[in-house]
Symmetry: D2
Subunit: 463 residues, 4 copies
């Protein structure tokens, strides 16, 4: 029989019990629930609500229970939720003293606490993984500073780029992702415990003491708000959605780059899978799965947004449904980051193919335009002239390089012999030296900046 | 070692194996996978690709395997997916003969088949549950044809209604939900088997024979389409989203109606839960949870929509992620319907409170307006006159009933002594006899129509 | 001053008026609103609520107003909504007679009617566009029955296919999309008029007569349901989401196929755009935009699902927000289909490139496997053998074609001289003659089936 | 003819032009586009790419164009986008000098700049509105420190609360919403200009100088990232979604509180609307619309998340579709905040009804439990005893207050005469003095904290 059933005449219907029970999902929180209960016990002691002996008994037993749950020695099945499961186990082990634990507390502030402890922990883990991810990207960039790739817009060749520049673009995306998580952490690092059901309590508890024990920087300023809102989860899932959006883009990139007509990169066998019917296949399954899982993270964000829409204060049972999207998203993103880090270490770059393609087309069009601009031709005129040269080339089946100086001069007399130097692939790439550009020096500076950012973040524990 | 690993030099990395494995999710399909494999075996036999003895051996063993999986006697862990798990088990049991099963087949058409078999089954189960749900609504309506409730717009009292009319409104929503599922069923009842990886096969298989064996009305007309699309799942989840939207509305209704100031209905103890700190609480948790779970169904719909966006043909591994939202949604909706049916049987209607509130306010305003309209006052003028009477009442603290005939006549000389009859609650409700209205006869006809619809549907097996 | 302001003491605040007004959005419905009002007038006449002269006056004037709105001669600004705008205009033109129009009606059933009339119309337009889309796909398929393309799974080459087969895969997706719209149409073709605010009316109206006038197959069976639900809009937007998902896939396909390393197809200049800075660019903007707009349609579906979640019956003002997602989605999908049809007519197929790539890799692996299967080698063994041949080829830098018979026989003695015939691209494609396969005859049958389906649909007015 | 059309042989098809044009949407950016172009001109001058005279000419003319667009004197129709429209107008006005503006720039970095300038501006406006919103909430709280309301969980009465505490709960939610916007601002305050199409430029531009001119704290470190990502928009829309979630909750609260059985508050006539058919209605339309519009914001967030999923770098035309959700969301949230502020100023609190309901039920159950806890009864035992008292009361039709001391003592001998003091409503509320609780002193401290927070934020310009 459940602990709150005093007033009920009929026994709780089995179907209802199963439907409302959350133990299968929230058992994941046992560690945090016990951590919170230990701090709560100390608060009760400090307020003389329980005595030292009782406190010690409770704390020791809670630690034992944690160990036993970890060792799978406590039967959690058929309990309503993890809070009840642990409290009932405590009472089973130490009787009336255990019945004192839930003083000046409610499951409403308890779950708000557990979720925050869990989420804090997971943000730290995820931040570390993103950090490692960035390290790998930076390493690839640093190792491959000479490789040129055709840069794309609209999946068409636009201007050639350094491959390092490409990977660093993702470095900065993940940097912002990590900073976003840091902001979520900062904002949610507030202790709800002591809000009780919704109104606070008349019992003498020192919430700030509790906050210190649990490493919170603040206590929640309003008990009603503390037990009613889940904005911190939504903000977290929104940040993870953005992160997965970034991962889905890099995944798409890889899927395209390993496709035979591209063959820009190759994934080592260990990171691909084959086909049950076509033995020659070597599929980029890992990144496809990550790209596909983006749907789950988006879906989970919308799940919790929908659930929280238009709920009046304070706690409503709907909010129990916040855990599934939270836990599942954390697991998916963690798994995706972990394997993506390994995968990046297991790609082979096909430098030759990249350069081959980068040489194609009219990659130097912008450079020709800039050449004219340097000679004071208004940009739009220069742009038009180069457009005409391209059209001419297409009609004649020629390339920029195969045109004679005379042909160039038939479009503008400003073209001189030095024009051919501008058509060289390396020159074209290396000369884009505006800060943040793909030029050689600019890249060097970007790498230095990236290193410095990581170093500083590392000192601040990634948050 | 996996069955398709022939060409790989390195062994599959453990991390990758775990990440790409879907067995934990798709083991749910074992029954359908085996059902499909048996039909496939018969197709192979009919095409003389295998002989009768081989076919019998395979089929018998598959049936044994199914029984053993049901009895939890086959270790499915560490397999890549349910298809491989079953095929490997088959080969383990009967050797080379088992190795013939996957002829003229690919996991691409196999999963498309399994999912369709699963979904067909689940649509049938869900349709039956909705049918039962409707039966309960109809029964409540039929049993309570005299109870009057204030009808709401904007959660304000608008016009009084029969409570039966209220419940029947939901009856028709669920009728459409069931019809939607029927359409999904009809459109997806098409057999993909024989599409193989994407191109079909040169081996002689009789797909129509296979379709007959598996109860499909058609075979898929294009092998590429058959293995590439998941629109049938999306359509299904969209239908479930609409159904949950309806359930969320009824849930909200109940949450409000059991709130103390309303107290229109009461839920029996067995279907509520209490509070860990406030012993007097009796919460409508079940409907809150259903309302909250609406988020998951919406989220799952968007998960699969996102996953399928912009995937080129044919199969991409992203599509493996279709199963989680599908299975989870089915389980949630089934659970929600089951318990909601029971809950509806466990509400007590507080007839007195409903009537008390229905009597309040100016419920007869429309009737007064219609009274004047019947005397040929243009509607807008009648509407304005009644508006002025309401204003007068509010200022004087009076009700329609407490006004004298003289007072009525000061607003319009058309008011006569028979006006007071129009102010009676029952008359007001019972007189709305337009078809589909809340009038007594109209309600009777509506109930008859509802019964007839259920009867016809029942004959057609609910689909 | 608004028509319903009788009881209010303070004048409506300007800010509120602007915020609650929907005229900017719902003016789009004027045609349908007037169509509905005309039918309503005839219903009032049939019930003797107004007389013939009045009815004629109202109907004539409404038709004039429609013409004037179409000609932009009626100032709709500063009105609350399209219903009030038209009714006020009517009263302005014909005074007291006009004030009779709103008898036995409410804006609640009026908007439900208008939206259904609008949606019915738009479904017909969209169905026709999809039909045209299918015709173009079918035409391309029919015209290109000899072109071979590498078929993809995981964007890796799997088995070669007929290009026609590829386009027909999309044909069937759009066929289901059109059928889905037909089901939406069928289910929503029900007349809500006469439900009034929520309860029906005591005035004598013949709803079935009204339904016949407006071409509805049924009347709504419950007045409360009729004014409260928007499931027909959600179902419609869900169908459009699936359609856009299909369009996004074809768009992605085209983006990839026009990318330089692929160059499978080219889009005519008129259907591409250039770059403001890189004159050589030719971008597939149209399909990128369609792919991008998929987001809006998904978003609109989620918008209306969210809005409708957990609203108690009957009408709530939230529901006013249903129109933006509905109208916007219709416009986007119509625009996307229209231009996509034209675009498909403006692609050039690069047959040579396709065949070139189709020839690459180990496209005949399945055929080799089937060769062994035909010689009674169990499939899994055959699969393994071919896997070993692939590995051998990769190590030696050889292709299937360059291997000698002896080399083949070193893997299996069953290989004979006829093996080389099986390695031919055409043979490989044309032999996949299972129904729905990419074989020559199978394709022919598929084309015939597609034609027949279109013909039948055309006769049934596409619905 | 468009500016980039040099190489095209066919004229751009009209249909394509319309479909790809974004001017109808992005014209909203004209102010920001010109602001950016002026800064860009100064950068070009500083790099000696143009001379002083040219710079002055361009800047003066751009300012004139801005004034003319504001005055609706420039025909923007039939232009491709706002960038082209303004540049073409500039060239029309000053010829070749105008053609120099687009040097060292692309529309790719230009739109990234415009959107950031726009978003920065809008975040400031929104932050100010939230600030005002909080001020109103705080004022209501401060003015109503004595009013007691029944606190809810599950829409059931839980424990009585100060109404001020209720409103302050929302104060803190909006505080976090404002902080979230501040974080978005901080992270996006980075200048992309000078990234050009994707690679940077070889022309000598001083990006840091440009950043200073435009008030950016940093320049983007990677040109590819700068033109490819839209995470700042997604983060913004996610923050607005959370804000709308909060508004939807307060809206729901108000809808329920103005419902007749509650009648906790009343909205002044100016902020409600009536019914076209029921003259007595007074509907909370404004909050219903806000609750309904939540769907649009969620939908817009999902729209952009979908659009950005799996796009390879760098710019793809899909990204043009980012503006609709961005602009629309800003307008909706601004409108909602503005009117909600006014609405809160126009509610009348029905203090009597609130207290009446707060007195009902067993509101002091927690206090009785705590009474026993203070006498060292273990909480769970105390909880059970009080549960039994509630059951006893329900069976006997009694309330806590109507029980005799003797009756109390039959449940526990620890009950003494001072128990009746604990049953008083005020005592029950005022005694919850844990920090953040609803007690009198705790509330005072909360109000002080809220004031201090606003004061500090105000000094920091709300960001």
């Amino acid at each position: 029989m459940s602990l709150w059933g005093g007033r009920f005449k009929e026994s709780i219907d089995k179907l209802v019990e199963d439907f409302t029970s959350s133990i299968k999902v929230d058992k994941k929180l046992y560690k945090y629930d016990i951590e919170g209960s230990i701090a709560h016990t100390k608060m009760l002691l400090k307020g003389n609500i329980i005595n030292e002996e009782e406190a010690e008994k409770i704390i020791t037993t809670l630690k034992e229970i944690e160990k036993d749950i970890r060792g799978d020695k406590v039967n959690l099945l058929r309990k309503e939720d993890i809070h009840m499961a642990i409290e009932e186990e405590l009472i089973k082990r130490i009787g009336d003293i255990g019945k004192k634990l839930h003083t000046a507390r409610s499951r409403n502030d308890q779950i708000a606490l557990d979720e925050r402890l869990y989420q804090r922990d997971k943000i730290k883990e995820l931040s570390k993984l993103i950090f490692s991810f960035q390290e790998v990207l930076l390493e690839i960039a640093e190792r491959n500073q000479e490789i040129i790739i055709p840069g794309f817009t609209h999946l068409q060749y636009a201007q050639p780029l350094l491959l390092a520049h490409y990977f660093l673009a993702y470095f900065w995306m993940f940097q912002r992702d990590r900073e976003r998580l840091g902001d979520v952490y900062k904002r949610m690092n507030v202790m709800p415990l002591g809000s009780c059901a919704l109104a606070g309590t008349s019992l003498p508890i020192d919430r700030k003491y509790g906050a210190r024990l649990l490493g919170f920087s603040k206590i929640s300023p309003n008990s009603l708000d503390a037990v009613s809102d889940r904005d911190y989860i939504i903000e977290f899932l929104a940040s993870l959605s953005i992160l997965m959006m970034h991962l889905s883009r890099l995944s798409e990139e890889i899927v395209i780059w390993v496709s035979p007509p591209f063959s820009f990169i190759e994934i080592r066998d260990a990171f691909t899978t084959g086909s049950s019917i076509m033995p020659q296949k070597k599929n980029p399954d890992v990144v496809e799965l990550i790209r596909g899982k983006t749907g789950h993270i988006y879906g989970n964000l919308f799940s919790i947004l929908t659930t929280m829409k238009a709920l009046p204060l304070s706690y409503n049972r709907d909010m129990q449904e916040d855990k599934k999207p939270l836990f599942e998203s954390v697991d998916i993103v963690k798994g995706s980051l972990k394997i993506f880090i390994q995968l990046l270490k297991n790609i082979k770059i096909n430098k030759k193919r990249m350069r081959e393609e980068a040489e194609k087309g009219f990659f130097a069009a912008t450079d020709l335009t800039d050449y004219l601009v340097e000679k004071k031709v208004p940009f739009r005129n220069a742009h038009r002239i180069v457009g005409e040269i391209v059209k001419y080339c297409l009609e004649k089946g020629k390339s920029f390089k195969s045109l004679t100086l005379k042909e160039y001069q038939s479009f503008s007399s400003l073209f001189k012999g030095d024009i051919f130097d501008r058509l060289k692939l390396d020159r074209c790439v290396f000369s884009k030296e505006s800060p943040g550009g793909t030029g050689k020096k600019a890249l060097k500076e970007q790498i230095d900046l990236a290193k410095q950012v990581l170093k500083e973040n590392f000192r601040k524990n990634n948050l």
